[in-house]
Amino acid sequence: MKGTIYLAPFGKQKATEFLLTKAIESIEGNDFSSILYIGPTPRKIRDAQITFAKLVPYPSFIPPCFYTIKQFASEFFQEYSKDKRILSDFIKPLLIKKLSPDITIGYAQAIADFIREIKQYHPDTSIEELKKKILAELEAKGIFSYDEVQKQIFSAIDILTKYNDLLRKNNWVDAEDILTYTTEIIKEKVTIKTLVLDGFFYDLTRIEEKLVCELINKAEKVLALSFYDSRTPEAYALPQEFLTFLRSLNVLQEEKLPDLPDIRNDLPYYVFSSIEEEVEAIAGLIKKQFFEKKLSLNHTIVTFSRLRDYESLVRRTFTKYGIPYSIYLTKPLSKTQPVIAVIELLRSIINGYPRSSTVAVLSSPYFKRFSSATKEWIGHYSRLAGIIKDERDWKGFEKRTITAIEEDREITDCEIQTIKQIQKEINTFLALTSRFKQPHNSLTGFAQGLKQLLAQFEWCQGLETENQQVVKIKNEFYRILDNMESFELDFGKTEYSEDEFMRIFEYLLNYHQLLPEVEIKGVAVLEFLETRGLDCDHLFFGGLSEDKFPGEVKYDPVLPLWLKQRLNLPGLERHLARAKFHYFRLVNTARGETFLSYYNTDADRLLLPSPFLGNDQRNFEPFNIIFTQEQSARHQGAIERIDFTKFISPVNFSQDQEIQKVLAQKFGPTHRFSVTLLEKYPRCPHRFYLENVLELSNLEEPRYEVEAKFWGNVSHKIMERLYQRGIIPIEKLEQEIEKVVDAVLQEENLPVFWQEAFRRIFNNMIPELIKIEQRMREQGYQPLKIEQYFTADLNDIRLSARIDRIDKRSDSNQIRIIDYKTGKTSNVSAGQIESGFHLQLPLYAYIVKKNRPKLEIIDVGIYSLADNKVYWLISKDTNNTESNDLNQLIEYAVAHAQKIVNQIRQGIFDLKPLNHGDCRNCDYLPICPMKPDEENINLSQETI
């Protein structure tokens, strides 16, 4: 006999220590290099290395070789292979797509999985045998027609054949070939003195079994560990299988280690209503027990059924609680910050430079090429400039930005310089990326182009020294690009569209996992399967809900599950068996605190407990302990009953002279109060304060549509232009309007489509316009002044207004004032003026009166271009006989204006929106002290 299989019971602790001690005993001296240790996971390997160091009686020694099976094979392969390239797993789908170009990359991945499984579990089955077997199974299932599915499976098998041929022809190997190859070379090249099989990798594939078998053959001495416990056979399907395999070799004897007293299979478990509560309970327990000296971090494992869902939350929470930890979890390359920047760059290029991606690139800290000014200002300016996408927009960045600023305020030279500089960088960006932009290219072409582009953009430069992770990411990223190149070199190039390339590339980046550093400090936070083979005293096992644990088997679009089972491929049964074994082993190994939990509410879903949990469900008794700053602050807040609303009180400076001074300066006698501005105050003083005193407002994301405001401007311009050169006879009006419309639209440089739309809208209006003009002429009025800017003092207030039009009777001093509007309009009532809702028309009258005292104002009106109608203030078109007294109305308005300005100057900005409905669409609502009814919040019917 070559050695021993040690049969350990459930809950056996320190099994590895036991094995390694035996191994050390088998060697004389401090050179252990002839020991080969095989363990289940990289994490376990590191653990075993430390255990070994602990056990060895020498301060320094030559260590054994510690490997997982995969590591061992790959190490070996690299040493002995001469002329073969390795096909990384992430490239496989590309090769498969090559063999079957019409399938999606996702399906290619499924076929890759299929190929892997067949190669793993049927290394010696020929294709013909395989097909026969499948056919037989399908027939046994007994359905009338199975054409489509059978075709699908057979085509996958055909791809497998072609795939193998192609690899062989080009001298490439995949991970399975490496295992086979290694098994071959072990025969001649290896001598092993002591082989330690730390038996936690129970579900060996057939191809792995062959390798292990060969290792045992070559070893002088074998120390193997297997689990068996007669008391719970159902949890032991997997080790049983392993044991059977070892026994079948007939070279090992068995030694049974003593049973442990009890089996734990109905432990209590806890339910939480949110993931946060669950993690906080775990953190709290760890901390509490640590300080009660009941727990040591070094012997504590925290594990989750799906660590990825918990990872960042655990990081945050443990940090807050002050618990040292190490998380061992891989991360897809695509989710790392530097690569996100590259993906965004590609999106920007491929989608035609949309604002958000492009700004993300230009302001990304990962592209050193762009100056800090660009990084800081590009977001702001590009919004201001209304850039949406396309090269054309970006090329006009400088002009558009400057125009936009100038509309609002003065611009300094320095700012212009800055904008010009940013434009330069944008141009560089466009020039360099346009070279990359090619509708069709091979992967090699894309890869090389991308490499070049990244070099030009100085991707990640200057960041390496600070950040080890960045270096690693960069290496891996380039490795993918290199891989794509060498792949095409041997297998030929394929042309892809940009979109396809993007999808493939993202797929690769997603698939490719970044391995974490194995670092052991504090509590070990591990994905469930990473706990394989590890021991602990204290165990916290979270996320034990049905959907996550044991969770679903990976969905297989190629083979039905029952068929997989018939073919001895891993399916549901194995999935369950694996989860069950590792779960029971882990739970039984931990002898201290063993805390099982899950959270049961996820948005609107209710989650049920994992079927492995027993019947002892408990609710968690909250701690009466404050563990974190956050809790302490919350507690403090609750005791002090801090009322948030006091931070958002209405603004009132009526007692503050300092501010009044500032306001008096800002809104002093020389400040021009435009009438439109004054009207904003009563609509909502608070909003007035924010928008017109503080002058805060957010720039909206630019949209491709011509806004109402713009229509207004153009219409005004047209009407202004129309009468600029004097009065036009009615019969010429139509012709003249058309001319002016054309001219104005030309100037405005609108996209052709909108020009056309506007022209038609206006043309449709012409007959009505002419009617209105005619009517006015009939009434004896003719335009006198067009678009005139007036100011007038009202005590110490300087009012200002741009009056669209004044019409005068040719035979008297009587005039009418007209204001054009494109938006919604209606009649203005005296009541509205009296209550201060409407100021504009009477104030216009006031201002004109002040400026032209000799003229007699008969009426003021709104000329609605939307309704093709003039709404007069005094002489209403309706049969309403009661007419208003203009002077009285002016008086009302003036009094209101005075009051408003006084309030502004005194700093009173009350919360009195004229119309509560406005709050509904007010951007300031959430931080406004106004707490309106929920009717004011946008709700659609679906919310009930």
Binding site: T104, G106, Y146, N298, K335, Q629, F653, I659, E942
Partner: protein, 1069 residues
């Protein structure tokens, strides 16, 4: 033998139990659970159903329970949507989708983009085409609001695309119009009333319809009233008839015109805008939520082998159970019947195999309250007739259940009294009208319970009325609290607690009024599924924080941040900072940002604020903190920064209230998820910008064990029951709450494949449209059912409240229904009377009466939900525990040097280093010889292993050759060659204190009891760097020395750095 079954199961009759029992019945017939498909209305209901089944099973059959539980995930108890998704996954490959199919998370973003790009394409590239013209034509009539309106309409169509994609615009039967026209022409009155008017039918293609409409305008006064109704003249039947005919004619013309206009828009939408969106989805090979049912339906109708494929994948269904059947849409029903079709038709393979499939539908048509999601209450009738026509009489059982196990007698009697008078449909009524069936009380408790109608009288605006109503509710709660009106499981009376009470609202509109009233009287409450997550101040502040940190030029966001309790600058300070007039825009004229580092553009609040740093130490502190956080963006997860800010800036102290805490946690989780999914900071801002106008419900506060009144809508109370129910707002009118574009749009589903879409922006015309009219009646029917659902939630006590305005015109409302049904009247002393006298436990009172009864009540409210009584222990200090061992890998190259090499010489130098080391190792081990041939061969195989692209290989090979030459002529050669007592790549482990060092030493040669250690440096360096490098590598070499001295038990060790590029060996120790 199991029969198919349709069970009408009213509220409180134990629907879930029946379904669970049926499920178990099936299992007991040895039907594999994979063959049973159970459809529930929500995911939550699915989970609850599963729980119930397991619970029952554990009682009935422990063995089966254990087997089944392990496979619980494969039980097919799911919503129809998740069933569809799994089915589509199965067919993904067949219909060209990704097999790892997922539902698009953000279809709106793709939609917005599609609209933009389509508009751009048409506008800029398709001038002169018909689409271009159509688009213009759709915009121009609405003038300056043309495009915004159109866009809104598109958005509403998009929202309803599941129906729209099956939709058609109704077209008028030309023949009918023709006959109408001839009837009018021949009518004697025509020549009398409109002698010169040419009545005509439009051309067959309706191309002249608009002209006809215009002509009709001029004479419409001859047959229409001012209000656009047909004039009437009862005395002259002939004239009367003519009015009617003309009205018909006119209305049809208008509808046709309107349909014609809409069909242009509709085509444009389907073909171009939605088309573009669908194309994009296709490129992604994904689906959106709206596709699930439609695609499934299509697969089931179009894929000839669907049932075989399901069979072969073991995913076929023999038994179907549907819960809440009344909420099933026609399309969903079509899917269900498709699944069952094969055996329902009697021809299927299943019968031949001896399998007897069944279908089991359970629900209550009176509880159908999802019309707006296309659930039609008549589905029950439809299902009945469908199944009766296909199944033999001994195969189908139709059960009308009337048992009620939930409520006490007063509630049942009240319901039985009132609802027959509200749900008045007889058997000739259209199927969508609801019929009432009497309940039978089954609950074993003789106590009658309470039903009380409480009304105040007032008039005024709705908001004020609700205020009054709310007040009344609060008072009544104070009245009943602690009184023994509720019953425990043993049916013993016990004092009423707050948590027993639910206040049910029709919609959230006036929620705040009720909140305020409860607050006023210190009644603890919780809002179940509160809306307005993004409108909560704490969330608005955090969004501003995210925005500002990602883009510091955002002034408003900075204002919010500074003003918020996080930084708590006063309004005055902010105003002064903002008005900071002395700051110039630049330091000097010539400076630009690029030449001067400290001159920012002072145009943003942020730069103005920074400029103010001098004025106050507090500002200085805020500025430096913010600057620091800004600089971390992009490197550090945003969520960490936010938490740090909340921690440091006292955020938690301010937002301590449970709802705020969970909201913030929810927000942080959203940010975290976005980041984990690869969003960069600006994309996170975009996300919130896009979503903040969407409704998003507030985070759930854990209500477990909290003694609080629950406030919720009737819809969210569906399927629940409460000891005490307040049905409030009886007097609320049934307004149409749908907004503009969606109210103009009417989707009328007649069956899964017949969907009519009408659009009518003109409210007058809408009134004339029978379609719109019918829909309104359907909505009214729904209000009845909603009333029913609300009332039947109550177990022990039901209070109905509202405000009664005796003067108001009697518009339809629930109060009105009650007034009519119960003959409610206001009598003297402001008291109320009604005609109910035979229901024990029933009463009707006015507010005055209520106030009198509670005058003397003083409620002592224990504050047991707030901070707990015992002072908590504080345990803030972090844990410090040393690991047993530190594992230190001694790597070959120091990070710092590696990155220098990388920067100076390029990426491939690092790999080249590895390759050279490998070559040297193999030479030392005698595996290859030191000849150029051997080395080249080895290099090439190393290139392969490292996957070095061809393009890089020549340069690397050159470098290897160069080093080969250099070494050949140097002392290094003898060192590399194989020799006795030497090691290459010697692994070692060294234990020192608690540190375990591990590593490999390039070359060890033992000579004259001295161990010589050599470390290869293969990268290029200059002579001048050597001494610096030695310093840097010294610690590493020291460890090597220590390790080997112990391994070989020698005292003397020497170490060397070997610079292969220079051909030099430099002693270091």
């Amino acid at each position: 033998m199991l029969k198919s079954k349709i069970v009408s199961s009213p509220a409180g009759s134990g629907k879930t139990q029946k379904l669970a029992e049926r499920y178990i019945e099936l299992l007991q017939q040895n039907i594999p659970p994979e063959r049973i498909l159970t459809i529930t209305f929500t995911e939550k209901a699915a989970a609850e159903m599963k729980e119930r089944i397991f619970q029952l099973l554990r009682e009935k059959d422990l063995k089966m329970y254990q087997i089944l539980k392990e496979k619980s995930l494969s039980l097919r108890i799911q919503t129809i949507d998740s069933f569809c998704l799994s089915l589509l996954k199965r067919f993904a490959v067949n219909i060209g989708l990704q097999p790892d199919l997922e539902v698009l998370a953000d279809p709106k973003a793709i939609w917005t983009d599609s609209v933009y790009d389509t508009l751009m394409t048409i506008a800029e590239k398709e001038k002169g085409t018909s689409d271009y013209e159509q688009l213009l034509n759709s915009i121009v009539p609405n003038k300056f609001r043309g495009w915004p309106n159109l866009k809104k309409l598109f958005d509403s169509l998009f929202e309803k695309r599941q129906s729209i994609e099956r939709g058609k615009i109704p077209s008028y039967q030309y023949a009918y119009l023709e006959s109408l026209v001839s009837q009018i022409k021949n009518h004697p009155i025509t020549s009398q009333k409109i002698p010169d008017f040419p009545i005509r039918a439009p051309k067959e293609d309706f191309s002249d319809i608009d002209d006809i409409r215009k002509d009709l305008e001029s004479i419409k006064h001859t047959f229409l009233t001012q209000k656009n109704c047909p004039s009437s003249d009862i005395c002259h039947p002939e004239i009367h008839e003519w009015y009617q005919l003309m009205f018909q004619y006119w209305r049809i013309i208008l509808t046709v015109v309107s349909n014609q206009r809409f069909s242009v828009i509709f085509d444009l939408f389907i073909k171009r805008f939605l088309g573009e969106y669908n194309n994009r989805k296709k490129v992604l090979r994904q689906v959106d939520f709206n596709d699930l049912e439609l695609l499934t339906y299509r697969v089931l109708t179009e894929h000839p082998e669907w049932s075989n494929i399901l069979y072969i994948f073991d995913e076929h269904t023999d038994h179907i159970l549907v819960d809440e059947f009344q909420d099933t849409s026609f399309l969903q029903w079509a899917i269900i019947t498709k699944l069952a079709e094969e055996w329902l038709s009697g021809l299927g393979a299943k019968r031949e195999r001896g399998i007897k499939p069944t279908i089991f539908l359970v629900g209550d048509d009176k509880q159908s309250i999802y019309l707006f999601r296309n659930a039609h209450s008549e589905i029950f009738e439809k299902a009945k007739s469908y199944l009766t026509s296909r199944l033999k009489s001994d195969e189908l059982e139709i059960v009308e259940d009337t048992d009620n196990y939930r409520s006490l007698s007063s509630i049942i009697d009240f319901t039985n009294l009132v609802f027959p008078k509200i749900m008045t449909a007889n058997k000739d009524a259209p199927p969508w009208q609801t019929r009432y069936r009497h309940f039978v009380r089954k609950r074993n408790n003789p106590n009658p319970g309470i039903v009380q109608i409480i009304l105040d009288t007032a008039e005024g605006k709705m908001a004020n009325l609700r205020q009054i109503d709310a007040e009344l509710v609060a008072l009544k709660i104070l009245d009943i609290i602690n009184k023994p009106i509720v019953f425990d499981i043993q049916e013993n009376a016990r004092p009423c607690r707050f948590e027993d009470i639910a206040i049910l609202l029709r919609r959230r509109t006036h929620l705040t009024r009720y909140e305020n009233a409860l607050r006023k009287y210190n009644i603890p409450f919780v809002i179940v599924k509160g809306a307005g997550f993004y409108d909560s101040p704490e969330i608005a502040i955090l969004i501003s924080l995210v925005n500002f940190l990602s883009d510091p030029t955002r002034n408003y966001d900075l204002y919010v941040v500074l003003k918020s309790p996080l930084f708590a600058l006063s309004e005055k300070e902010l105003l002064l900072i903002n008005e900071d007039l002395q700051c110039d825009l630049c330091v000097t004229e010539k400076d630009t940002l690029f030449t001067s580092t400290n001159s920012d553009l002072k145009i943003s609040l942020w730069t103005r604020f920074k400029n103010n740093a001098k004025t106050s130490a507090r500002y200085q502190d805020v500025i430096s903190k913010l600057t620091n956080w800004i600089s971390q963006i992009g490197y550090r997860p945003m969520v960490e920064i936010l938490e740090e800010i909340l921690d440091i800036q006292n955020g938690w102290k301010t937002f301590w209230q449970p709802q705020q805490v969970v909201n913030i946690k929810k927000f942080l989780k959203i940010v975290e998820d976005l980041e984990n999914n690869g969003s960069h900071p600006l994309a996170i801002c975009d996300y919130f910008e896009k979503n903040k106008d969407q409704e998003e419900s507030k985070a759930n506060v854990n209500t477990e064990g909290r003694n609080e009144v629950k406030l919720m809508t009737i819809h969210s109370a569906k399927g629940l029951q409460f000891p005490v129910v307040f049905f409030v707002g009886l007097d609320e009118k049934f307004e149409n709450h749908r907004k503009n574009e969606s109210a103009y749009l009417l989707i009328n589903e007649v069956s899964e494949s017949e969907v009519w879409v009408s659009y009518e922006p003109d409210s007058n015309l809408r009134k004339l449209s029978p379609l719109f009219d019918e829909y309104k009646s359907k909505e009214l029917e729904e209000e009845k059912r909603i009333f029913y659902v609300g009332v039947t939630r109550a177990r022990d006590a039901l209070f109905l409240t509202g405000v009664y305005n005796p003067k108001s015109s009697q518009k339809e409302s629930r109060l009105n229904w009650l007034i009519n049904a119960l003959d409610i009247r206001l009598i003297e002393d402001n008291k109320l009377s009604c005609n109910v006298d035979n229901i024990p436990g029933f009463s009707i009172i006015s507010v005055n009466e209520l106030k009198q009864t509670i005058k003397n009540i003083k409620v002592q409210l224990s504050d047991d939900n707030q901070a707990s009584q015992t002072q908590p222990v504080t345990l803030l200090e972090p844990i410090i525990e040393e690991p047993e061992y530190h594992w230190r890998a001694v790597t070959k190259e120091l990070t710092e040097i590696e990155s220098r090499v990388r920067q100076n010489y390029g990426e491939h130098w690092i790999i080249l280093g590895d390759i050279l080391h490998k070559i040297f190792e193999k030479i030392s081990q005698g595996k290859i010889r030191y000849t150029i041939e051997d080395i080249e061969t080895e290099a090439v195989s190393q290139f392969l292993i490292h996957n070095i692209p061809k393009s890089n290989q020549p340069a690397m090979l050159d470098e290897i050759k160069k080093q080969f030459e250099t070494i050949l002529n140097s002392e290094i050669l003898s060192l590399i060659q194989p020799q006795n007592n030497s090691y290459a790549e010697l692994p070692f482990v060294l234990k020192e204190n608690k540190i375990v060092y591990s590593g490999r030493i390039d070359r060890v040669i033992i000579k004259d009891s001295v161990v010589n250690i050599y470390d290869y440096k293969t990268f290029p360096i200059s002579e001048t760097e050597i001494s610096d490098l030695i310093q840097k590598y010294l610690p590493q070499l020291k460890i090597y020395q220590k390790a080997v001295s112990k391994i070989f038990s020698v005292s003397k060790t020497k170490s060397y750095l070997v610079f292969t590029q220079l051909g030099k060996i430099i002693p270091c120790s």
